[in-house]
Symmetry: C2
Subunit: 237 residues, 2 copies
């Protein structure tokens, strides 16, 4: 007999409002912070006792936008050009038998609610998770058992993922500065530098849009340079 239901213990609150543009693995954009808002009764301050000594955490969460029926044995990793299939168990694809995501993040702060003595939530960085994602567990990262720097990364070892150079014009920079904090702007640069396009697209004239922090960031990519062309308020949904 196994458990068949999962309790949501919290929700991710962050600037990633849609799947497009989210870093493909955790830890790649250390600038971008996320807030893990805790729900009662899991927000009792006692439940976090001793957590502040850990630099990193594991988050277990729900691939809430990737549910589908039925099992497909293979997936097409975007970074393999989107036309090569790998076994789902050889990938971290969201389309898997159970939609549980696993991310290691850096713990920056624990925010207590002075009024009720509970934890409001955790500030973390490096999360590759969509805003509003349900969280199922928080576990401490234990370096003596979780860290295997000598591990081989299989087909991911041979991926050559160059960073893009990201260009903001003076106008765009001024606009960004009226909207975002400097940390958010740094995070946006990091995210864009990792090339949010699927691996099989290379259309210099195509205009891409990515929702970030409630705004639609529009850009083009030519060669290894990404240029932001507009920062627009998103239209009605």
């Amino acid at each position: 007999m196994t458990n068949t239901s999962l309790e949501v213990i919290g929700y991710v609150r962050c600037d990633y409002k849609e799947k497009f543009g989210i870093p493909r693995q955790s830890g790649l954009t250390d600038c971008a912070t996320a807030f893990i808002e805790m729900l009662p009764p899991y927000n009792q301050a006692e439940a976090f006792r001793g957590l502040d000594g850990f630099s990193h955490l594991w988050l277990l969460w729900d691939f809430s936008k990737a549910h589908k029926n039925g099992f497909t044995a293979t997936v097409k990793p975007p970074k393999l050009g989107g036309n090569q299939r790998m076994g789902v168990f050889a990938t971290r694809s969201p389309f898997r038998p159970n939609n549980i995501g696993l991310s290691s993040v850096r713990l920056l702060d624990i925010i207590y609610n002075e009024e009720n003595g509970c934890v409001h939530g955790l500030v973390v960085s490096g999360a590759d998770i969509l805003d509003g994602t349900p969280v199922y567990d928080i576990k401490p990262y234990l370096p003596y058992t979780d860290s295997h720097p000598e591990a081989t990364g299989g087909w991911t070892d041979s991926l050559d993922i160059p960073e893009l150079s990201v260009r903001f014009s003076d106008d765009i920079t001024a606009k960004l500065e009226t909207i975002f904090s400097s940390a958010q702007i740094e995070a946006l640069k990091e995210i864009l530098a990792q090339d949010p396009r699927p691996g099989y697209q290379d259309e210099p004239n195509r205009r891409y849009g990515m929702l970030y922090g409630g705004y639609d960031i529009r850009f083009t990519i030519s060669g290894d340079t990404l240029t932001i062309s507009e920062v627009a308020e998103p239209g009605p949904q």
Copy 2:
């Protein structure tokens, strides 16, 4: 809307037949192997394509012997002497809001069933998991994003966990050799050297028993030496 049910994709088959004696974290006993038996439809060979290039895996599994009702914010880690409470989110305790265990293991082999073209299962080492445990997911270990050797381990950093010296008499050695493979005997030595007692017990005359590979391994511990006194067939359940 989140998923509320989990599909069992396989079962752990190993020599740990009861909770007592299981290593407290994955990777501590590299000798001990476990078999992850896959269930249809998740055993399709295609689902494992590309997995053989990874040296390590993550297993997500069910703490099937640790279900309980209600949420308790703190737990008593055995290695803290069993009388000090830590927040559940600062531990890897099985008693947590969702009973999902997380273990990194070494991938030793993928066993194919020649007759039906499916995967029978995976041979792994370092699993800290009970025999018969339901498995929910298998993910590749990605060293570039999962390995943080610089991470701080909070209260676990200050634990001093000395290894016991394990003594087998000639009689016991001969008996073990008639029952177990030499790899199983090595694994048993590793497991016992890590001191299976809860941290708060220190009774030199107490006789402990641990089920391993279908046999009841009985031993005493005095100072830093563990001596096996008997290897018995377990009684009727």
